[in-house]
Symmetry: C2
Subunit: 457 residues, 2 copies
């Protein structure tokens, strides 16, 4: 097949696994903008952040100069239970497409959370434990992050309170049950367990909740309960740092076989997977050592990079979290209910936002039906039923491979396959039944949302 025989799956040896995370901010000339206090509009201090987040995570959040941060041994041991994840050569997909391109994907779905989220969940839970805390709070939408955190907390014997968006809680009872099996306390949000929840329920008695509201509830509980802090699964710098394990493993696996990628593709919701995957490669680009094309793929229903504003915005609808400078659709923006493909967050990692603003990466959008079409084709030839989120990257990887077919170029394409779609069968069902529709927000909708952006100099 190849001159140098490349196996279907490249696994690193245990001793080849990364011992340090890579902090891409250290190599950035233009650093991501600092978090601001939502009331004073001044940069958040470590002390202020420490009321919400664990101390060590606050340090990691603010550290934009240390390139390599050691991964504590206990986290590395946990990683060994489900990592290294395979870097897969998509021989069957290449064959199906009849493309000269060489396609690889880093598959993060081989763990019970079903996604890459576990990489940061164990890190955040570990630092909470180290700090002597009793437990952590968080929000979850579809449930991957909540599941990952439940698993990490069960392993470390830490209490875990999850606020799950009510509509997901009711429509995805299995996800909730997985979290309960791992000992987590799962509350549908909005709830009467918080002041914010009560207020929202008074104002909108029939509401099925939103991620922004669940965040506000989780933050409130963390702030009011001694021995608890809030943790979250995407967007933040600390999360990108932990997720760099994806990119470091990918790079080590490619290096082992002397493979040089041309294009690296990832789906982008809050940016944790994409940021983690591209970090070490972006580092090379920032240091002028290499030149790669990076492509962020968004749903056209929630196009933060491609149609958002680069501005300070709220991370939650309750407006209790710090302000973050990022590409955003406005914290009130919620994609149409007809959107089933995930990646619904209104904003984007501030690190990735700065890199995008500096022209160091590209972004593109794809429609939902294009995404599911790619997902099904991939499932049939590669044998893995992908998460809708991950399938955004599959779609663009296929499109790039087809361009190679036209031009005859033998490009090497790497994409992130963040997870599996086992809990997304309602969405697949819609696609199978031919009743899936596409949604594109109008300019008017976006302008209305942008008008509510906070006023920050």
């Amino acid at each position: 097949m190849e001159e140098k025989k490349i196996p279907y799956k490249i696994y690193l040896e245990e001793e080849e696994m990364p011992k340090e995370w890579y902090n891409v901010r250290a190599d950035m000339k233009n650093k991501p903008a600092p978090l601001l206090n939502p009331e004073t509009k001044q940069p958040m201090t470590a002390e202020e952040l420490g009321a919400i987040f664990c101390d060590e995570l606050v340090k990691q959040e603010m550290d934009d100069t240390t390139a390599y941060i050691p991964i504590p041994e206990e986290i590395r041991n946990f990683y060994k239970m489900y990592r290294p994840s395979p870097l897969v050569r998509a021989y069957c997909l290449e064959e199906k497409l009849q493309t000269p391109a060489k396609i690889y994907y880093k598959f993060e779905g081989n763990n019970t959370s079903g996604s890459h989220k576990l990489n940061s969940a164990i890190a955040q839970a570990y630092y909470a434990k180290q700090q002597g805390l009793k437990g952590v709070t968080t929000e979850t939408g579809a449930g991957q992050w909540g599941t990952a955190l439940s698993m990490a907390c069960a392993y470390l014997d830490l209490d875990c309170k999850v606020y799950m968006v009510k509509v997901s809680y009711e429509q995805k009872p299995f996800r909730k049950e997985v979290m309960r099996t791992y000992g987590a306390n799962v509350t549908p949000s909005p709830s009467t367990t918080t002041e914010i929840g009560k207020k929202i329920l008074e104002r909108h008695p029939g509401t099925t909740g939103s991620l922004g509201c669940a965040i506000s509830e989780a933050v409130e509980v963390a702030s009011n309960t001694p021995g608890y802090r809030y943790v979250l699964g995407s967007v933040m710098n600390q999360v990108l740092l932990h997720q760099s394990v994806i990119g470091l493993e990918t790079k080590a696996a490619l290096d082992k076989y002397g493979i040089e990628p041309d294009i690296i593709i990832g789906c982008a919701g809050g940016g944790s997977n994409l940021g983690g995957l591209i970090s070490p490669f972006m580092g090379e680009k920032l240091r002028g050592e290499k030149n790669y094309r990076f492509i962020a793929v968004e749903p056209e229903s929630c196009p933060s990079f491609t149609r958002g504003k680069y501005a300070y915005d709220f991370c939650d609808t309750g407006m209790v979290c710090p302000l973050q400078k990022m590409y955003t659709l406005g914290s009130n923006f919620i994609p149409s209910a007809s959107h089933a493909g995930g990646l619904r967050y209104h904003g984007m990692s501030s690190t990735l936002s700065q890199l995008y603003a500096d022209g160091l990466m590209e972004a593109t959008t794809v429609s939902q039906t294009q995404v599911f079409e790619a997902a099904q084709m991939f499932a049939k030839v590669e044998g893995i039923l992908p998460a809708p989120e991950s399938s955004h990257a599959i779609r663009v990887a296929i499109d790039e491979a087809m361009k190679c077919k036209e031009t005859g170029e033998e490009k090497t394409i790497v994409f992130g396959l963040t997870g599996t779609g086992y809990f997304d069968m309602v969405a697949y069902g819609k696609y199978n039944d031919g009743v899936m529709s596409d949604y594109v927000p109008t300019d008017e909708e976006l302008e209305k949302s942008f008008a509510l952006l906070p006023d920050v100099e």
Copy 2:
């Protein structure tokens, strides 16, 4: 941790993967009894079997002398997409139990079917394709087998008709949707698409179906539709042959580190996983080279080995399949609806039955609540949410490890972790809510069922 450092997960290199299946029957002094024609009670001929099964699979079914059978390259390539599966050292479980025992498990759940079933599905679909068939039919209960076969057929572009027990079809819509995504045609059974289905619906209009009925429908369609054959996921000799890839990989991984198992444990429903896991080790025992303890673990609600009769019986309730000599509870036996832990088949692989009859392996039963207790503990410390079926083996592995703790023995225990429990959250929910009950069939129930065994000399 160890003098010779053993990683958390032992992965074979691609070139170390088995190139031949091992047929344990070749080393058995007492061969499994032949299949009988249900009407004439005479041994089935290859020609008779060929009306139902693919020709090459009939050969494999009847071949009890060839020890090694080459795995065709196309099947090996498919295996490379999700195999080798890891042999995991359960360091965290050992730590939790504070046992001197060394525990390993072979994890077969890292593929979209969620279990080991894919190992035989691709083989059976391959031979159907080779024979120039248009498609295959099968039945599925919980859905793992149906999913595995759908995946294999999608890969080979073969039509796939699945008869799914109606109660599962309705209660597990996600499983059905996975199969549809892979292009399979899924029909709730009993259905009006077959004569047997129509008869059963006339007699029992409100029935929610049974595995035995779904088998009969699938066999009828295969017999009546030109270009189709019937395939099935357990019990048969051919299935054990294909599943030997599990044991061969396990043995290769252990050999690589010079590890000698003392006890090998597997759950037993129809016997495909257990048979596959123990085959090469049993071969050593049969040839007098080694002595291992093998333990088959059954649910106490469906105790074929431990309370069944070793006799010829029907494989299906429609009584259209060949008679098989096996440990059986009678083809009319159905465990109580309160049993949620899988492994519900009334009979057992005839190969394993003969080995058990000859005293070469042990069998034991466990209660459902004990199984889920072990499953939850395992999930928390090892990070994998196990299938209820697999958790039978976990339970006994833990029990054996605890005996080692008492005696101080450093035994090496290997068990089969056949799959994940992502589609079993209704059962987990019952356990989490404390409303799971145990069921043990009475002697009277079993006697009543035994009375209906066919009269074969």
